[in-house]
Subunit: 215 residues, 2 copies
DNA sequence: CACAAACATGACTATTGATTCATGTTTGCA
DNA sequence: TGCAAACATGAATCAATAGTCATGTTTGTG
């Protein structure tokens, strides 16, 4: 279960690239659907259309593929989000666009998404790094927006960090609820509701001043 | 791996109660710390100070303990939250108190907390039910608060549901970040920052009217 | 063309650990 | 006290499957 740490499974050259990709792809589906424990190497390789042993040409262990998939998801999502967020006029707008893009991503890549979540219990390190990195980008973006006066400053010096994690939590939970479990509800409604709360919070708006009775 | 569905592992009578509890307790620690896959029945029973076979007097499978633990966590947390939330003057206050209590709970019961999160990949059903039930309570509470005018109405008819999941996501992510990964940062600061955003969102407050230059 | 990397195969090994079970031991109660 | 139900034991079973390896096959290149 813990094979020697062979240099690196970095084999790459011509057709091997494709084989590796096929395996990664099959692994994504298998692990995403059946879960890490259920997904056997034999299932994965069968699905990929290669022999069992071929797996070990490209990966040291089953955990290795998982790590790889988490990194892959990170890159894909980052790209997806950057693109979606490009035309944002301000931070609040970016939040809305980003959330929408995220939910969209989850609906389109449920397997990959699940793999990342499960990675937490297979290699806590990558999982944590995955989110920590996202949090960092988030922090930077929020701080910049704050400086620009687009969002209100927080009440203390942890608030930027806290806000970043809150926003990620929101995305993840909505992704789970509406991305994985219920892919029906229109994204617009969800995003409208979410953006409203992200923008203005729950507090009741001060009721409009009652117009003075006409004299 | 899939034993026949014997009636129920409901054995209960006198001392057995205690043994069952010891096993459940050990399982919580083992699964929480080492993860479901690593936690072996033998480790669990050893930790509990009973023989391997004893495990099967009270549980059909390893998955069974997990389910049991999720239910257990549900009860405990609910209790903890209800208590903490009791004196709340309004919904926003309840959110603050609830979040604080939750983070506190996670810091005090990291193992149990982790078990619940991992249950997602062992028995998706209980996990989903766990959160769906919490969401329901949340919805009810939010709807009531809205009626009382304590919080602003949402923009559409999914907003109460969406808000519930957002709030849960916030708790879970802050629980992970500040409960599990960094048990140092004072809860007060975290909760202040979070409550601010939950209450008022990110939007920049309308800048105070610039006082007219003195004539 | 010929040879060496690089890639691919799939049968085999070796471990692991969940679950079972035949055999005790304890407890409550008639 | 004596018996049956409940509880406890831990060695043995037994299936699953990661990971290995000896043996091909392909491909690029001199």
């Amino acid at each position: 279960m813990t094979p020697r740490k062979r240099t690196l499974p970095v084999p790459k050259t011509g057709r091997g690239e494709m084989t590796r990709r096929k395996i990664l792809d099959a692994a994504k589906r298998e692990i995403g659907r059946r879960g890490f424990a259920e997904a056997s190497i034999s299932t994965i390789t069968a699905e990929a259309g290669v022999a069992q042993g071929t797996f070990y040409i490209y990966f040291r262990t089953k955990e290795d593929v998982m790590r790889e998939l988490v990194l892959h998801m990170g890159r894909m999502l980052r790209h997806h989000l950057t693109e979606a967020t490009e035309g944002a006029r301000n931070r609040l707008d970016a939040e809305r666009l980003g959330l929408r893009a995220f939910l969209d991503f989850v609906r389109k890549n449920p397997d990959l998404y699940k793999v990342v979540e499960e990675s937490q219990f297979v290699d806590g390190k990558v999982y944590r790094q995955y989110y920590t990195e996202f949090a960092k980008s988030y922090r930077i973006a929020l701080a910049a927006a704050e400086k620009r006066g687009e969002i209100a400053p927080g009440p203390n010096d942890v608030s930027t960090e806290v806000r970043a994690w809150m926003l990620m939590g929101i995305s993840v939970f909505l992704g789970q609820r509406y991305g994985l479990w219920d892919p029906k509800t229109p994204l617009d409604e969800i995003v409208d509701a979410a953006a409203d709360m992200i923008g203005h919070g729950l507090a009741a708006t001060i009721p409009a001043r009652i117009p003075a009775p006409a004299p």
